[in-house]
């Protein structure tokens, strides 16, 4: 028996190494299943919690065009949540259980959404920086080993890059506008910069799952590599906008061929991950409230569907 499992394990890894995808019906090590449930659901939760900070600006958007694009964007994030929950369900867990894990605090979501969206410029900065940082992770995941996850990512990435362009375009309009608007853009960049860098997770030395994750192609690059790539990509965009750099230590390093940047406040990172960021409680409360208030609606839909099914059988 022992030998059989070992052989299955080896075949499984060989399959991944040869570039084939793992499909829900295929045999997989229990640890692979659990890791994927954790990662995909965390990603799904991030999409729907991520609807909240931007959602609160839809009613206040400054023009009809901006209102429509923002609403469509937030709705897209709900769609991403839906594909990801579906991908996760193929691993043998129900959506209700996944929500239960979110509401109890057992499952995490991206900490970035525990920061408040306080000005209209945040709709620009979030799209540009937060969706931008998310894409870097997600482009990599289009080649991950678990088929349903990889395919969901292909679809999601197309929309995320559209969101990023839209966010940048909001920033550009502000930067080409009045002094008040430009100030709004700068203030927003300053606030979102560090939390965006934190989105890539802890330093490589402190990241626990990296080796296994690389073997299963959940990760093709490390946290620090992706963070550097993000900084290198974003600094020229900040310059293009004509904004000041949000970190005085940002400087091109000829030798490394990368931008240097200042130290990240890891205390803040761990504090927010641990539940004590500016909006952790509000975000979770909003999700729970929607879920609890919707309970009677979901029950009614279920009861109605059963009655219809019975009627059909009776005919």
């Amino acid at each position: 028996m022992e030998i059989d499992i070992n052989r299955l394990d080896l075949e499984f890894q060989a399959k991944i190494d040869s570039g084939k995808t793992i499909e829900p019906k295929d045999w997989m090590p229990e640890k692979y299943r659990k890791t994927h449930i954790r990662q995909i659901s965390q990603h799904a939760h991030s999409e729907i919690v991520g609807m909240l900070p931007e959602g609160n600006w839809i009613t206040r958007a400054p023009s009809l065009r901006r209102k429509v694009t923002l609403l469509a964007k937030v709705q897209d994030e709900g769609g991403h949540g839906l594909y990801l929950y579906s991908a996760c369900e193929t691993l043998g867990i129900s959506r209700d259980e996944l929500f239960e894990q979110l509401h109890s605090g057992k499952a995490k979501y991206s900490s970035i959404f525990n920061y408040p969206a306080v000005t209209w410029a945040d709709m620009g900065a979030v799209g540009w920086l937060v969706d931008g940082a998310a894409i870097m992770n997600q482009v990599m995941l289009t080649r991950t080993s678990f088929g349903p996850y990889a395919r969901a990512m292909v679809r999601i990435c197309k929309e995320e890059s559209f969101h990023q362009r839209q966010g940048f375009e909001i920033m550009l309009s502000l930067c080409n506008g009045t002094a008040v608007q430009k100030h709004m853009a700068q203030e927003s960049l300053n606030r979102w910069w560090w939390p965006s860098l934190m989105m890539f997770g802890p330093r490589d030395e402190e990241s626990t799952h990296t080796e296994q994750a690389i073997k299963w192609k959940i990760k093709l690059k490390t946290n620090d590599e992706l963070r550097q790539q993000f900084v290198d990509q974003t600094v020229p965009q900040i310059e293009l906008l004509g904004l000041e750099l949000p970190d005085p230590a940002i400087k091109w390093n000829e030798e490394r061929g990368h931008y240097d940047f200042g130290p990240i406040n890891w205390d803040e990172f761990w504090r927010v991950v641990g539940g004590n960021g500016p909006c952790n409680r509000e975000r979770l409360a909003a999700r729970k409230e929607a879920w609890e208030k919707g309970a009677w609606v979901r029950e009614a839909a279920l009861a109605y569907a059963e009655k219809q099914e019975n009627l059909r059988e009776a005919v």
């Binding site: 609807m51 009613t59 209209w120």
Partner: protein, 250 residues
């Protein structure tokens, strides 16, 4: 400028604007993801229609007026939405009842406007009717689902249908502009509108096993610029950026 046509376009655009606003408050807070996405979709369709009506109105007005000037920079008494649309999202049954009455009316209105003598109006109506056909199906299916779901959902749905009945009379009260538009072949026949509304809503309520509210009075005023207390708060949100940062491009 053709003042009557301009006023008529404002009447056409304001109700979907304010209802879209109410629906967009729900984005991210729906009872499940599918419904959340569907309600946002309806709001998106409504805002798209608003833009079509207001862009046309802005052209009629001239003098550099834009769709955003019309949407964001009027005083409360200048908004012409029916009072139904500004009612709050108390619970999902309220959202559905409000939508159900609105969609039944909106569908019949747009069906008639497809035949408008004004080509721009008939083109906008032809595009919108496809969307509103879906809205009307969505809201009436939910009326049936909640009406014939659990005891609790039935009680809530019945309550909401009865509550919103006092707002439906306003949908059929013809303003002078609407009379004029009908006479010139641009607008809709309100007798047909009312008959289609009644037959559709009665049919759905019967199927849902819900009582058809008997009511011989109506709340009114929105179409003349006299609103419920809710509109002021809606405008405080809707107009916030345009009022706080006047004259800027976004």
């Amino acid at each position: 400028m053709n003042k009557s046509l301009y006023d008529y376009l404002i009447l056409l655009g304001d109700s979907p604007l304010i209802l879209g606003h109410r629906l967009s408050e729900l984005c991210g807070h729906g009872p499940n993801l599918e419904t959340d996405i569907a309600l946002s979709n309806i709001a998106l369709d409504l805002f798209g229609q608003v833009r079509n009506w207001f862009q046309y109105a802005a052209e009629i007005h001239g003098e550099g007026k834009t769709e955003d000037d019309i949407a964001f920079l009027r005083y409360e008494h200048e908004y012409r939405n029916v009072i139904l649309t500004e009612q709050p999202n108390k619970d999902f049954a309220w959202v559905i009842a409000r939508q159900f009455y609105f969609d039944a009316w909106h569908y019949s209105l747009l069906t008639q406007l497809c035949e408008s003598r004004d080509e721009r109006i008939s083109a906008i109506a032809a595009k919108s009717i496809k969307e509103v056909t879906y809205h009307r199906r969505f809201s009436s299916e939910w009326v049936k689902r909640l009406g014939d779901g659990t005891e609790e959902s039935r009680a809530r749905m019945e309550n909401a249908i009865a509550h919103f009945a006092m707002y439906k009379g306003e949908l059929f009260e013809e303003t002078n502009v609407e009379k004029e538009m009908f006479a010139s072949g641009t607008g809709a026949d309100f007798k047909v509108l009312k008959a289609q509304f009644e037959s559709f809503t009665n049919e759905v309520l019967n199927e849902a096993g819900l009582e058809i509210p008997q009511i011989d009075w109506t709340q009114r005023g929105g179409k003349h610029g006299v609103h419920s207390e809710h509109l002021g708060y809606i405008l405080a949100d809707l107009q916030y950026m345009q009022r706080a940062y006047p004259g800027m491009q976004w």
